[in-house]
């Protein structure tokens, strides 16, 4: 995975790194959404309403994820992130690890959505397609939940356990 412009929360680039991570997550979500929209449109035209409904539900989940990521907190100006006077190296490492995990989950979701479209175009069984769509929805929901834990990491790392 390569993120252009990403320098790992180095000093002076931390806000830009945060924005880059969030934009990458949004981009992944948009990619998955586009695949599912194709499936939705084709399924609706072919009167496969059950598949279209499932794809629409997954798109709604992705929309919520994108909105969460777009409106997520980024911290204060002089404290890097809110509630924390200075970010230690270990905190930044945890943050980098967390971002990496989220992006990996999103990538898996994109792959599944790609599989959905492929299965639909290959004429697979309806149940199989719906199962893949639900897998993608589950992955997006997991990513959304996992990303929400990022705010906790940023918010002074009050939690002791590894997120």
């Amino acid at each position: 995975m390569v993120l252009s412009g990403y320098e790992g929360y180095t000093k002076g680039k931390r806000r830009a790194a945060d924005l880059a991570i969030r934009e990458e997550i949004q981009r992944c979500g948009t990619r998955a959404r586009n695949h599912l929209l194709n499936v939705h449109d084709n399924a609706f035209r072919e009167k496969k309403i059950a598949i279209a409904k499932a794809a629409k539900a997954c798109c709604n989940t992705i929309d919520q994820l994108i909105e969460d990521v777009d409106k997520s907190p980024t911290g204060m100006s002089h404290a890097f992130f809110s509630g924390q006077s200075s970010a230690s190296i270990s905190v930044l490492k945890k943050l980098i690890k967390h971002d990496h995990d989220v992006i990996e989950m999103m990538t898996k979701g994109v792959n599944i959505s790609n599989s959905v479209e492929h299965a639909f175009s290959a004429g697979k069984e309806e149940d199989e397609i719906k199962s893949l769509i639900r897998q993608c929805e589950q992955m997006m929901t997991s990513s959304r939940g996992y990303f929400s834990a990022r705010a906790t990491v940023l918010d002074g790392l009050r939690q002791k356990k590894k997120v």
Binding site: L19, E23, Q26, T30, L37, H40, D41, F44, R45, I49, A52, K53, K56, N60, D63, I66, E67, D70, K71, T74
Partner: protein
């Protein structure tokens, strides 16, 4: 440096600003909130798209003016501001349903501008004013929405129930998403949700009128029922009260009558006791009298029996005397016959004479015996007129002395 406000109205969705039009002494800056983004178009090229930051020196100021004069700035510098949050649009519609009735209402659309899609707004601003608000966006898509989405969906909707059903809403949303994807994509918008809210149809108004009238009728009926029930309860209470009063009066009268009857009964009992005492007294007297009369009767009967006994004795004595005399005569006659037979003087004439004398003697004996028990002459009681013998001293029936 003063702040530049690109959005003065909540209905504004996007604005295209020419940087060269900002001519102020002080330089301007703009603060981009999380739901706002700005795309820079410099000399015809799309530059950065920024958000959540302060964009300094977007226009104005002496320094930029001097730089412009010296040719040190870009020739054409435009900024495209837009809202990246979801935007709700309401599109009025008026479509005919399958059953001929007309459905009116609003179709609500939720669309969103993604940050990377902001430059696509240039497609809009190329043909219209550099300000896009909700009304302008609705004007852009309303006709297409009505033609491609609402009219076909309504044409397939057969009745009001189907119009209100969730299936219809889902179908309409999917249909709108499929049909409007291309248009929204060209304009830079992402379709999120769609639903319609319809006004009451004619059928529904008619049903509401019927329901209202029915409800009014039922209300009137319920009131009438309640009133009738109240009247019935009052009637029952009144009747019950009257019945109770009658019962009370009856009980009073009954009590009075009972008391009076009891007093009368008491008087009657007293009278009865008096009568019983008198009856006992009279009965005692009668018993005494009866005893007296019985005693007299017994005495009379005793006397009668004594008389009869003496009479029987006398008759018996006379019979015995007669029998003795007859036996003596028979003996004498037998001796006479024997003497006559012994003397040879027993002739038929003698026998005949003997029989004639004997017969005469019997006749005399019979006349004597028959004349002696002459029955006494009967008389009647002076008090009860019962038959009495002549020699009786008292009446055996009433005990009266004769």
């Amino acid at each position: 440096m003063t702040n530049y406000k690109w959005r003065s109205n909540p209905n504004i969705i996007a604005r295209l600003v020419d940087g060269n039009d900002i001519k102020t002494w002080k330089a301007r800056q703009v603060v981009l909130k999380p739901n706002e983004a700005c795309a820079f178009i410099i000399d015809g090229r799309i530059g950065d798209i920024v958000s959540e930051k302060i964009v300094r020196n977007i226009g104005g100021g002496i320094g930029r003016h001097i730089a412009d004069l010296m040719g040190g700035t870009a020739t054409d510098r435009r900024m495209l501001f837009a809202i990246t949050g979801p935007v709700d649009l309401g599109i009025p519609f008026n479509a005919a349903m399958k059953n001929g009735s007309t459905a009116t209402g609003l179709m609500h659309l939720k669309v969103q501008l993604r940050k990377e899609d902001i430059p696509k707004l240039l497609n809009i601003f190329a043909n219209s004013a550099p300000l896009l608000d909700r009304n302008a966006l609705v004007g852009l898509i309303a006709n297409e929405i009505a033609t491609r989405c609402i009219a076909p969906a309504m044409a397939n909707c057969s009745n009001d129930e189907e119009l209100r059903s969730p299936e219809f809403q889902e179908h309409l949303e999917m249909h709108t998403e499929v049909e409007m994807r291309q248009t929204f994509s060209n304009l830079g918008f992402t379709f999120l949700r769609a639903y319609i809210s319809t006004d009451k149809t004619d059928q529904e108004k008619l049903q509401k009128l019927r329901a209202d009238l029915d409800m009014a009728t039922q209300t009137e009926g319920a009131n009438a029922d309640a009133l009738m029930e109240r009247i019935a309860i009052r009637e029952a209470a009144t009747l019950r009260r009257i019945e109770c009063e009658v019962n009370v009066e009856r009980a009073k009268k009954h009590g009075e009558v009972t008391i009076q009857a009891e007093s009368e009964l008491l008087e009657l009992r007293k009278q009865e006791a008096v009568w019983e005492a008198e009856l006992a007294r009279d009965q005692g007297k009668a018993d005494l009298r009866m005893k007296e009369s019985s005693h007299k009767t017994a005495q009379a009967m005793e006397l009668f029996e004594q008389v009869q006994a003496r009479k029987r004795d006398r008759v018996q004595q006379s019979q015995e005397h007669q029998e003795q005399r007859m036996e003596k005569q028979n003996e004498i006659q037998m001796k006479m016959m024997e003497m006559a037979a012994a003397q040879g003087a027993l002739t038929p004439e003698v026998m005949q004479e003997f029989l004639r004398q004997q017969t005469a003697q019997k006749a005399i004996d019979g006349s004597e015996s028959s004349s002696e028990p002459t029955p006494p002459m009967s008389t009647s009681c002076k008090q009860c007129n019962a038959a009495l013998m002549a020699d009786w001293k008292a009446c055996p029936h009433c005990g009266a002395v004769q």
